[in-house]
C-alpha cells in the first residue's frame, strides 16, 4: 500500500515537472488582459479594447496546442465550438483566422498592433508579452 501511495505521488510530481506549458501572448502595444477578456476576444464577443482593434489568431484546427487552448482556456470542446461558430454565422460574426505554425503566429503578433495568439511557452521571447499561462 505504501509503495502504491509513493508511486502515485511520484507520478503526480513528475507529471507536473514535465507538463508542457503554454502562453497566451499579445503584441507589446497592448497594456494587459485578464482571462474574461481573452475568452471574449477568441469567441468574438467583442473585437475592441478601447480604440484598439483586437485580432485573435488561432493555430490550425487539429493543432494540439489549439485543442489544449480550447479545452483549458475557453473550456469548450471542438464539437461545441463548431456549433458555436455556426450560430455566430447567423449572428454575423466570423471565427478568428488560423495560421499553420507557431512561427507564423509569432511573426504576425510582433507585426500587427492588437494581435493576440497562443503558443508553447518556450517559443516566447522578449518581443511578445505574456498575458496568461496554462499547462496540459
Amino acid at each position: 500500500m505504501k509503495r502504491l501511495a509513493l508511486y502515485i505521488l511520484l507520478e503526480l510530481f513528475t507529471s507536473q515537472l514535465y507538463a508542457t506549458e503554454y502562453a497566451v501572448v499579445i503584441n507589446k502595444n497592448i497594456e494587459s488582459l485578464h482571462l474574461g477578456q481573452i475568452k471574449a476576444f477568441f469567441l468574438k464577443k467583442t473585437s475592441y479594447l478601447g480604440d484598439e482593434a483586437i485580432v485573435p489568431i488561432n493555430l490550425s484546427s487539429r493543432n494540439p496546442i489549439r485543442i489544449s487552448f480550447e479545452k483549458k482556456v475557453l473550456h469548450m470542446s471542438f464539437t461545441r465550438l463548431k456549433s458555436y461558430w455556426t450560430k455566430q454565422h447567423y449572428l454575423g460574426h466570423r471565427p478568428p483566422i488560423s495560421m499553420k505554425s507557431q512561427a507564423s503566429v509569432k511573426a504576425f503578433i510582433e507585426k500587427v498592433d492588437g494581435a493576440i495568439g497562443y503558443m508553447d511557452l518556450k517559443k516566447v521571447d522578449g518581443d511578445l508579452k505574456i498575458v496568461y499561462k496554462w499547462s496540459d
Binding site: Y48, G50, S83, W85, T86, L91
Partner: protein, 335 residues
C-alpha cells in the same frame, strides 16, 4: 412544383454538403466571403411535415439569404426570407396548395462598437428578449416547433435602436435596451403590429450558467384600428455542458386593465447522446386570457445532425387540448 422545389433544395444541400474544403477554407454553416470585400454571404432553408387531426401538411417553410460584414468599428447584417414559401395541405376535399412569394426583410441593421463595452445598433433586429428569440431559425433550434411563450409575450422583431453595455470578467454582465418609436419595417412580418417598443434586459453568465431578465412595453395595433399598451416580463435561465442543456423561460403579459397572458413558460432539456444525436424533452404551459386559451404541452423530440448545420428533427406533442396533438418532422440546413 413541389417536386421541382425539393430537387432544388436537395441540389443546394449537395452543393454545400462538403463540410470542410481545405483549399477554399469553406466550412458548411459558416458562409463564405465575397472576394476580399467586407461581405460574407450565406443562408438557410427548412422543409417540414405535420400530421395533426388525421391530416398532413407539407411545407417549404424558410428560404433565407444572409449578407453581413464589418469595416473598422462598423458592422452590418441583412437577412431576407421567403416564409411559408410553399404549403401543401390535406383537406377533406383533397389537397390544397398555397404559395407565398413575398420576400420579407427579417433583419437589416448596422452596429457601431464604441469599445469592448459599448455597442449601438440601428435597424430591424430580433428582439433581444430571452434566449430562444436570439436564435429562432429552424436549423439552430433543437425542435421543429417553437415554445408558445416565444410567440405570445413580446414582439419578435423590433425596428429602432438597440444599445448594450457588456463587462467581461470572471462572469459576463450585459445590460441592454431596445427603443422603437416608429412603424415596423415590414410590419406583416412580426407577431405583433407595433409602433412603439421600449425594453430593458440584464444578462449574467458564468461558466455553465446564464440568467436573464427582460421587461418591456409595446404598443399593439388592434384589428379595430385602436392601439393597446401591453407590458411584459420574461425571466430566462440556461445551463449548458458538453452533454446537457437545460433552458427555461417564464413570462407574463398584461394590459392596463389586467393580464392578457397570465403566464407562459417552458422548460426544455436536451441530452446529447453523441455528436450527431440528441434527445429532447420540453414541458410547456400557458394561460392566454386574451384568446381564452389554456394548454399544457409535453414534447418529445429527437434530432439527428450528420453535420451541425444540417438537422433532421422529429417530435411528438401531447396537449391537454387533445385536438392539438401532433407529429412534426423537419429537414433544415444552414449554409
Amino acid at each position: 412544383m413541389l417536386k421541382k422545389l425539393l430537387i432544388v433544395l436537395v441540389l443546394v444541400s449537395a452543393l454545400f454538403g462538403v463540410e470542410y474544403q481545405e483549399e477554399s477554407g469553406y466550412h458548411l454553416g459558416e458562409g463564405t466571403q465575397v472576394g476580399s470585400l467586407p461581405l460574407y454571404i450565406g443562408g438557410y432553408f427548412s422543409v417540414d411535415y405535420r400530421y395533426k387531426e388525421s391530416k398532413s401538411r407539407y411545407r417549404i417553410d424558410d428560404l433565407a439569404f444572409l449578407a453581413y460584414g464589418n469595416y473598422n468599428k462598423l458592422s452590418y447584417m441583412s437577412e431576407f426570407e421567403f416564409k411559408e414559401f410553399y404549403t401543401l395541405s390535406e383537406e377533406e376535399s383533397g389537397f390544397t396548395t398555397n404559395q407565398d412569394k413575398s420576400l420579407h426583410v427579417e433583419r437589416l441593421y448596422a452596429d457601431y462598437n464604441f469599445n469592448e463595452n459599448y455597442m449601438l445598433r440601428g435597424g430591424k433586429y430580433n428582439s433581444q428578449v430571452g434566449f430562444w428569440n436570439l436564435l429562432p431559425i429552424n436549423v439552430l433550434r433543437d425542435t421543429t416547433s417553437n415554445p408558445i411563450s416565444t410567440d405570445i409575450i413580446f414582439p419578435k422583431f423590433t425596428t429602432g435602436l438597440y444599445a448594450s453595455y457588456t463587462s467581461f470578467n470572471e462572469g459576463d454582465l450585459k445590460i441592454d435596451t431596445m427603443l422603437q418609436h416608429n412603424d415596423d419595417f415590414d410590419s406583416d412580418y412580426n407577431n405583433y403590429v407595433i409602433d412603439e417598443h421600449y425594453a430593458l434586459g440584464v444578462t449574467y453568465s458564468k461558466d455553465e450558467f446564464e440568467v436573464k431578465l427582460n421587461i418591456g412595453m409595446f404598443d399593439n395595433y388592434m384589428p379595430n384600428n385602436t392601439t393597446q399598451n401591453l407590458y411584459y416580463i420574461l425571466a430566462s435561465m440556461k445551463y449548458e455542458t458538453e452533454k446537457l442543456q437545460v433552458m427555461s423561460e417564464v413570462g407574463s403579459q398584461s394590459a392596463t386593465d389586467g393580464f392578457t397572458t397570465e403566464y407562459a413558460a417552458y422548460l426544455q432539456g436536451v441530452y446529447r447522446l453523441s455528436e450527431e444525436h440528441a434527445a429532447i424533452l420540453r414541458l410547456e404551459s400557458y394561460d392566454d386570457s386574451y384568446n381564452d386559451t389554456r394548454d399544457d404541452i409535453a414534447i418529445f423530440g429527437y434530432t439527428y445532425r450528420p453535420l451541425y448545420p444540417v438537422a433532421l428533427k422529429a417530435e411528438y406533442q401531447f396537449h391537454s387540448i387533445s385536438l392539438q396533438n401532433q407529429f412534426l418532422f423537419s429537414f433544415s440546413v444552414l449554409f
